[in-house]
Amino acid sequence: MLPDATVVRSILSAAGVHDAPAEETSLGLVCRVPGSGAPGVLAALRESELDFRILVDMLGTDTGEGIEITYHLRSLSRDEELYAKTALPYDGDLHSVWNTFPSALLQERETAELFGLKLVGHPNPKRLFTTEGLEPLLRKSVPQRSVEEVRQR
């Protein structure tokens, strides 16, 4: 289930990400990559001997200091899973990985829209769910109820 952390580290350093921590957490093996480098690193992980061919899932999290993007990779030939995390500033650029993993196409649109990020390198950088002008709903600074609704209670 868990890939070898030293192999992951060597692949990351070959892809130009040095001193990248790859550590075991409650989630599994998690490695951290810089935001703009995510497409290159994910492509390197896909082509490596670990064979991470599948992007299972992708999500953003508002950490309070910025948006953390989690990519969930899966290798079918070795039956291993790896999580790659990148930290982005609020209103930062989300670099698309669709060239490597087409399954990210709609997920990236959703993440960029609901966390207020700018999509870079996406073939169809439109909003996915909500209308133009709405606040990025999944940010912690956006309340679940509107001010008007709270006042009526």
Binding site: L27, L55, D62, S103, L106, F129, L137
Partner: protein
């Protein structure tokens, strides 16, 4: 004159060398040259969201050249309720109600994914009876969900009769699920630690009666729709998805297995009672609409097999583990997935130690099926678009969340 096109391409009246009609007089935009029967311009057609064949509120924008689709785009969000945001103010044992409204045709699977994720955070041991009960209701739900797909897929291809027979069988399952959980579709039955209530007395006899009848009914279903020559002509060889495309676009479930790749969460990442259950994973070859039909029909048979095993092997004991009323899991992050009727339904929870999730992400398999739809539609006839949406079994409640 037998071909009606001769009417519009007839140039018999034209005098030699008089092919240029000249420019139109002022006030008239173009010369009335009649109907051009040969060339067509591309047309952008909007399908949905209020369209009976889109199985909910899918809006599809297709660009057609005559009858042939040249480009397609799915437009989502007509059912967006912000489940992920709402979950951030719900306690952990209330997450099931949100998951029911995600994939509303197979609610048990969503609840199961949410419960598994919370249990993984809590590191709680689920008693055997709870695990077997969960697998029992999950497989019953799978049959109910596939029956809806079977009925409406037939409608998409122009058949009518199978829908009523599918609904008849689905009603029997919903009656059983209602007796177990108290609700027909929005169950909220599977909770972190186990299930909310024990199985009612005498339910095993009812389920056995259904299982025994359903084996024969399933053969009838297959003969009624799959044996129909018109249906076969509509689906065989149409909408082929090869395994590489399916994996690249993140397809899971029956759609992936129809392409010849036998990945099943129940087998590869066993949860609940599946390690003890005996079942086969049907796999297709070419990944066309017919293979997706065959895989789902066989999945119903396997699900029926598993339901029977669950009833026969149901262990004694508690139906839930000791879990506090207000669950406060330790800080951490987990991912748990189940094989739902549509593929790998996953739940990614980030906990900050409070009684509500800090971040709750719902991996919806239908979202990935929408992506592959944009990929495979070009090149097909517009009449097949409706059939292909149906063959992928897209559930809009979970794509939009």
């Amino acid at each position: 004159m037998t071909d009606p096109r001769d009417l519009v391409t007839d140039v018999g009246l034209l005098a030699e060398g008089a092919h240029d009609p000249g420019s139109p007089p002022a006030g008239i935009r173009r010369a009335p040259t009649g109907v051009d029967g040969l060339t067509t311009e591309h047309l952008v057609i909007n399908m949905g969201p209020q369209h009976p064949s889109t199985h909910g509120v899918l809006r599809l924008i297709v660009e057609v050249d005559g009858e042939e689709i040249v480009a397609a785009e799915t437009s989502l969000g007509y059912l967006h309720r912000g489940i992920e945001k709402l979950a951030e103010t719900r306690r952990y044992n209330q997450l099931g109600t949100l998951m029911d409204r995600g994939d509303y045709v197979s609610g048990m699977h969503g609840e199961q994914a949410a419960a598994l994720a919370v249990e993984r955070l809590l590191e709680v041991e689920v008693p055997p009876k709870a695990r077997w009960t969960r697998s029992l209701v999950a497989e019953l739900t799978r049959i109910a969900s596939h029956l809806i797909w079977y009925g409406t897929f037939g409608l998409d291809t122009g058949a009518m009769g199978q829908f009523l027979y599918a609904m008849r069988d689905r009603e029997s399952i919903l009656d059983i699920l209602e007796a177990i959980s108290g609700a027909r579709m929005m169950f909220n039955y599977i909770r972190p630690g186990g299930v909310v209530a024990d199985l009612p007395a005498g339910i095993d006899g009812r389920i056995r009666r259904f299982c025994n009848g359903f084996d024969a009914y399933l053969d009838e279903h297959h003969a009624l729709l799959g044996g129909n020559e018109i249906f076969q002509a509509r689906v065989q060889g149409v909408g082929e998805i090869d395994a590489d495309t399916a994996l690249a676009f993140g397809l899971t479930g029956a759609n992936l297995r129809a392409s010849g790749f036998g990945w099943d969460v129940r087998r590869e990442r066993p949860y609940d009672a599946y390690p003890q259950l005996d079942f086969d994973v049907p796999v297709g070859t070419t990944g066309d609409a017919w293979d997706r039909y065959m895989v789902r029909m066989e999945e119903m048979r396997q699900a029926n097999r598993m339901v029977r095993q669950c009833v026969d092997g149901m262990p004694e004991g508690d139906f839930t583990a000791k879990v506090p009323k207000v669950i406060r899991p330790p800080e951490g992050e987990v991912y748990a997935s189940v094989e739902s009727s549509r593929g790998e339904t996953g739940v990614h929870v980030v906990s900050d130690g409070s009684d509500t999730p800090y971040r709750y992400h719902y991996r919806a398999p239908s979202l990935f099926a929408c992506q592959v739809l944009e990929e495979i539609l070009p090149g097909h006839l517009i009449a097949d678009a409706v059939m292909l949406i149906g063959s992928l079994d897209i559930m809009l409640g979970e794509t939009d969340r």
